[in-house]
Amino acid sequence: MEDPVVPSKDTSESALRCRGLVKRYGEVVAVAGLDLEVRRGECFGMLGPNGAGKTTTVEIFEGLREPDAGEVDVLGDRWRGDGLALRRRLGIQLQETKFPDKLRVREVLSLFRSFYPRGLDIADSLALVGLEEKADAQVRTLSGGQKQRLSLASALIGDPELLFLDEPTTGLDPQSRRQTWEIVEGLKARGRTVLLTTHYMEEAARLCDRVAIIDHGKAIALGTPRELVASLGAEHVVEFTINEEASAALSAEVLAALPSVEGVAREGGRWRLTVREVHRAVPALLAALAERGATPTELATHHASLEDVFMALTGRRLRDG
């Protein structure tokens, strides 16, 4: 018997929790034993490449798919029956929704507003996503970014306790992406709980209080963006390219022994060093290369990011898998 949970008295810290979640499609395991917890009031990110199982996981949370194994608690409740009572407390943005072309923006929102016993005014929800001027425009006249903001408004209209955003900026131009980020930051400032999935590390780093890095249906790392980057042991990345011959003559041990270098990775003639201090590592590196008669054709440094964390963990890049 579960604890008797009354939603209004639900003071548990977690807005969402899953344990041992498994979902298979035939032979393919989309979700392979996932444990996650989203705390109230936080923006939680699931960061991972396409096909990592993020959307499947979120759709299980949203009650749109049945898991093969595992448990899910959403706002202290379980999915059963039509789940209408639970749905009234959630805001859901699917990866892509095509609203009817001939409906006006205001009409779409008033349709979705009618599903909730309480929620925002149409005008307020329009203001929230900056679509006031498009209120009377038909959906077909909206740009991709405006359609995405309409979809966001439809998810916010019921004033949800927990908001799901599945890849909210995929396919958007940079300006629309920044607008969406500002909207989500506004929601965070108002203490909303948000679960978002993304394969953009900048998005996760900017918006999320905590991030789970997802790969092959599992969480392979979890923490604040700062903690995750710090786990690399160094704040900077130095990348350089030399020809294959010179590469063969170079060993990882030599590079690892250079001052301030914490980690070494290689892809053919392309090397990546994680370093604590660029000003100490780079002169030593150039000297070591010159000693072996190798001249780098390319040399770049950047602050370590979640992308570097993902590469350190999987050896692959986020974007092209």
């Binding site: 949203e62 009234r88 929704t97 095509k98 609203f99 001939k102 779409v108 149409i122 038909q138 019921g158």
Partner: protein, 350 residues
């Protein structure tokens, strides 16, 4: 505009229905196919197959000793238009179809005509009767005549109920099926299911908006047929409405069934055509189902559109009452009920 008071939120069912109606009336193509097309078709076909006043049949009398007398005798008959011609020319005109009968100069005359042509046959009978009478034959009695050209027996009267049935099928199936498949393809159905909207409302709103649309749709065609073409409604108007509503619902059920699974419009179009094309051909829209051989009749009579067309014709043209329509109505109801139940069982929500 901006500071008008926020309207009180409408119920979810009303909003879902409104959304569907707005989509429909903002689609100019839909308005054309649903309202204008059937009226246009009724007008054009009604014009093409209109009843003409009987025309006099062209007949040639070959010039000879009896020529003038025979010409006079034939001229007295209103259904004949005789001309006096030379032998060769008369033959030539017959061969070309300019005249349908040639009365020779012989005594007694020889009738040259084509017995496979109904007009030729009629001309022969009329000409023979006129010449016999002129030669002194007495009619034994004079029959009375009842001429049937009143509304209700013309082709256009047969056509209009068929067009109404065809329209009820088309809009029911496309109206429901198309919009559901578009919504599924664009993830809208999934988005609605993810929100706290009842599934019964989502589908129910489709049916209700369809029935609301039925009023102007059937109304426009019937009004045009009644006012412009003079097509009668002999039976009860209420019964005609009831038959139309039942027919619309039955085809909504079929539309729901065909749209229950397909993920794409292309897939759905194929199934729609598979279901509708046989009914366009076999269900007696443009011509009577009697024309199909007896072996095919069980199939033809089992089609829902055949039942609907028969019921509509019976009410409009024969003034049939409810009792006479029960077999057709039962068949329609069965088609509708079975489709609904199966559709809801196999419906794909995402």
């Amino acid at each position: 505009m901006a500071d008008r008071p926020a309207p009180r939120p409408r119920s979810a069912f009303t909003e879902l229905t409104l959304a569907r109606l707005r989509e429909l009336i903002r689609e100019p193509e839909a308005v054309f196919w649903v309202f204008i097309f059937p009226i246009l078709l009724a007008a054009i076909l009604g014009l093409a197959f209109r009843s003409r006043p009987p025309q006099a049949l062209p007949v040639a009398v070959v010039a000879g000793p009896q020529g003038d007398a025979r010409l006079a005798a034939l001229s007295a008959r209103p259904e004949l238009a005789p001309r006096l011609l030379g032998e060769a020319e008369a033959r030539q005109q017959l061969a070309r179809g300019r005249v349908v009968l040639v009365v020779s100069a012989d005594e007694p005359p020889v009738y040259a005509y084509d017995p496979t042509q109904p007009e030729s046959q009629s001309a022969r009978l009329a000409a023979d009767a006129a010449l016999q009478r002129a030669a002194g034959r007495k009619d034994v009695f004079t029959p009375g005549q009842a001429e049937l050209t009143e509304p209700g027996t013309r082709y256009v009267d047969f056509l209009v109920p068929g067009l109404l049935g065809m329209n009820l099928m088309g809009t029911g199936m496309w109206g429901i099926g198309f919009s559901l498949v578009v919504a599924r393809q664009g993830n809208l159905l999934k988005r609605l299911v993810a929100s706290p909207a009842r599934r019964s409302y989502i589908l129910g709103a489709q049916l209700i908006s369809r029935l609301i649309f039925l009023v102007p749709e059937a109304g426009a065609l019937l009004l045009f047929a009644w006012l412009v073409l003079g097509v009668p409604v002999r039976g009860s108007l209420l019964l005609l409405i009831a038959v139309s509503v039942l027919g619309a619902l039955a085809f909504c059920g079929l539309g729901l069934l065909t749209a229950a699974r397909p993920r794409t419009i292309e897939g759905a179009s194929g199934i729609m055509n598979l279901v509708m094309v046989p009914m366009w051909i076999f269900s007696g829209i443009f011509f009577s189902t009697e024309r199909f051989p007896a072996a095919m009749q069980p199939f033809v009579q089992a089609l829902p559109l055949t039942a609907l067309n028969d019921a509509l014709r019976a009410v409009m043209l024969e003034g049939a009452g409810l009792a006479a329509l029960l077999p057709e109505l039962a068949l329609l109801a069965a088609w509708g009920a079975v489709s609904f139940v199966v559709a809801l069982k196999v419906f794909r929500w995402q």
